[in-house]
């Protein structure tokens, strides 16, 4: 792994090699969010952050490619660590000031290829919810604007005709980053009001994770089967109450096994997609449940329209206290419309409505290219519902935001 890091550093520092084998890009993005309302845990109403991202890849020969990405961050709301270190594992409760976003080597020979290092792995085919996407932790410090995190692992794959068989081995868990306890995306239970929560960090499992996915891209149908054995990247909370006024919460990551499948069928004038996974726990540390999504997709002119239903069926509940945005938006009708106005401008509308009406989320976004390298994105998020609902609990977190990105 050190060799990969070293190669990546060389890659980011060196302007050498020919233009055909080297590529690099970078961006600086600043993002300001305004919340009209305060919450019991957070009275800050304007939050700003900035991210400098530098990415590059080099392909010294047709059979090998090295890729790397580096991020530097700052923010106004204590979501970034207050000391300097180069983070490689993304295990911190807060974001690191400097982090390796990705660093990997990809080798290919004939139908066989393997990627080693910190890499992005996406499984699944649906757009609104991906129950089979087990190697894709996210940064949920802002729950409605999550950021995909890479995992450290080895990913060999072989292509056999129209099918691909892929295996993944991840020696150490990369967790999803859950909301900070003293900020607005953590909502205290009614019975915990007035109790101060102390963040005791996380206890990480020692074991590795592995998975296998078979994917078939046929003429009339695309389908896959997948298996995962490892740990949930979303945390469950172990709470200890040393005194009536104080609670100590520790993140834990329960053992998880899942069996999944996804399918896409282009029908007459729309595409039908489905994705399902059954989750169980080898040591009974979490619920047994099924998550699924069925969606219809159609492109009309410059519009990409997606609509569907995300569902959940719980086979065995173990009453675990956890942060589960994937299960949180289940049992909902979901929709998304993206409109490419012209080559420079896009509009997006996203909607999630709980089937029982207890929670709803709507997002509108307008993005435009300014000059050649600047992109301005304005968005508004509305959240409503009941306090007991995953979406509804965030009803005081409706917001408006402006993001400005310079790409180079």
């Amino acid at each position: 792994m050190r060799a990969v890091v070293f190669a990546a550093v060389l890659l980011l520092c060196s302007p050498a090699v020919s233009a055909q084998t080297v590529s690099r890009r970078g961006s600086i993005e600043s993002h300001v969010v305004g919340f009209p309302q305060t919450t019991p845990t957070d009275t800050t109403q304007v939050v700003g952050d900035v991210l400098l991202r530098e990415e590059g890849s080099v392909r010294p020969a047709r059979w090998i490619q090295l890729a790397a990405g580096l991020g530097l961050r700052g923010d106004s709301h204590d979501r970034v660590e207050d000391h300097w270190r180069l983070d490689f594992e993304d295990r911190g409760v807060r974001r690191a000031r400097a982090s390796i976003l990705r660093v990997s080597a990809s080798l290919s020979a004939g139908a066989f290829s393997v990627e080693v290092g910190k890499q992005f792995i996406r499984w699944g085919r649906a757009d609104v919810l991906n129950p089979t996407d087990r190697f894709a932790p996210h940064d949920y410090l802002d729950v409605v604007n999550p950021e995909l995190l890479a995992v450290n692992g080895v990913r060999p794959s072989v292509q056999i005709g129209n099918s691909t068989l892929e295996a993944v081995w991840v020696p150490r868990l990369t967790p999803s980053r859950s909301p900070l306890f003293d900020q607005r995306w953590t909502v205290a239970l009614p019975e915990a009001e007035g109790i101060r929560i102390i963040d005791k960090g996380a206890v990480f499992p020692r074991g590795s994770q592995h998975g296998v996915r078979w994917n078939h891209a046929g003429t009339r149908v695309e389908a896959s089967l997948s298996y995962f054995d490892g740990y949930h990247h979303l945390p469950a909370f172990v709470v200890r109450q040393p005194s009536p006024e104080v609670a100590e919460a520790t993140r834990a990551y329960p053992a998880l096994r899942s069996y999944g499948s996804d399918i896409a069928v282009p029908a007459g004038w729309l595409t039908v997609k489905g994705e399902v996974a059954y989750f169980t726990s080898p040591n009974d540390s979490t619920d047994e449940y099924v998550l699924y999504v069925v969606q219809l997709e159609r492109q009309v002119g410059g519009w990409m329209l997606i609509g569907g239903y995300a569902g959940e069926a719980v086979a065995r509940s173990r009453g675990t206290l956890s942060f589960s945005p994937d299960r949180g938006i289940a049992r909902s009708i979901v929709g998304r419309a993206v409109h490419a106005v012209d080559p420079a401008r896009t509009m997006l509308v996203e909607l999630v409505v709980r089937q029982n009406g207890d929670g709803a989320y709507v997002k509108g976004e307008y993005s435009t290219l300014i000059a050649r390298s600047w992109r301005l994105t304005m968005s508004a998020v509305g959240i409503g519902g009941e306090a007991h609902d995953f979406l509804g609990q965030y009803r005081r977190n409706s917001s408006g935001s402006i993001a400005l990105r310079f790409s180079y």
């Binding site: 890009r25 961006s27 990809s106 290919s108 003429t219 159609r298 080559p343």
Partner: protein, 268 residues
């Protein structure tokens, strides 16, 4: 040469046939007689002349929208194989915000192509459904279907006349999709230069209306293949146009079959 151009060439040019001995013929208003089979022969010959084992170029896309706004993008294009049996990868390299976005096109001799688009920002590939092929490709005036490279046998070709384009005498050929394949277009009219068997213009129709017009300009011989170094696609319904300039064109470059798969799309 773009795959769009290749599609045009794949649907083009051919051999000059002595009309007298052909069994079926059409009489034009001018009195010129064309054989019913001439269109297919011309197109087949043009396809033959454009055949190569592989191709690579650097593309510079300039899109002019109806409001006068101009945007520029660049891509690299690599094709392995030729015409109805080829695979191509088109990958944006500029501006930075679209860098790495890629499209894999797997052409088939007997049906529409399969296409997948890779978006690095979300680390996902998405299959472009057949019914979505008529939509614009990434803000350009090329639709996904226009990026296919079809085999001449996928359409019926009829020679309908002769016409001069920029002083060069061209065959005018009507191409109609065969039932077996799906197309957004009901027909297209292609102008192929008689002297070099190279297509210089294509009008694509939906019913009786021309909806897209492609002009191939700056024709140059590259490794013996007449290649349009500038292709302009106009969306006549929107009033916008996209100009594609081809740089560093090379044929028969050493490429590997395994670099033209969905898996390989993830690699830059």
């Amino acid at each position: 040469m773009t795959s769009a151009t290749l599609r045009m060439i794949a649907g083009c040019a051919g051999c000059l046939v002595a009309v007298a001995w052909l069994p079926v013929s059409l009489r034009q208003p001018t009195g010129t007689v064309f054989a019913a089979d001439d269109g297919r022969r011309i197109v087949a010959e043009a396809q033959q002349r454009a055949t190569s084992k592989s191709m690579r170029y650097q593309g510079r896309l300039t899109a002019f929208d109806t409001g006068g706004r101009v945007t520029e993008k660049r891509w690299t294009y690599e094709r392995f194989g030729s015409h109805g049996r080829s695979r191509a990868v088109l990958r944006f390299t500029s501006p930075a915000e679209v860098d790495g976005v890629a499209l894999l096109i797997v052409n088939h001799p007997d049906r529409a192509s399969d296409q997948w688009m890779w978006t690095p920002a979300i680390q996902r590939e998405r299959r472009i459904a057949l019914q979505d092929r008529s939509t614009r490709f990434f803000g350009t005036d090329f639709s996904f279907e226009d990026l296919e490279e079809r085999d001449a046998e996928q359409e019926d070709h009829t020679l309908v006349g002769e016409e001069a384009i920029d002083g060069a005498v061209c065959w005018k050929i009507q191409s109609t999709p065969r039932r077996s394949r799906t197309s957004q277009y009901s027909k297209s009219i292609i102008w192929i230069r008689k002297d070099i068997y190279a297509p210089v213009r294509l009008d694509a129709y939906v019913k009786d209306d021309v909806v897209r017009r492609r002009i191939n300009a700056n024709l140059q011989q590259v490794q013996g293949i007449w290649t349009a170094r500038e292709v302009t696609m106009t969306d006549l319904r929107r009033g916008s146009r996209t100009r594609l300039s081809l740089d560093e064109v090379a044929y028969d470059v050493p490429l590997r079959d395994e670099d033209f798969t969905v898996q390989a799309l993830r690699r830059r």
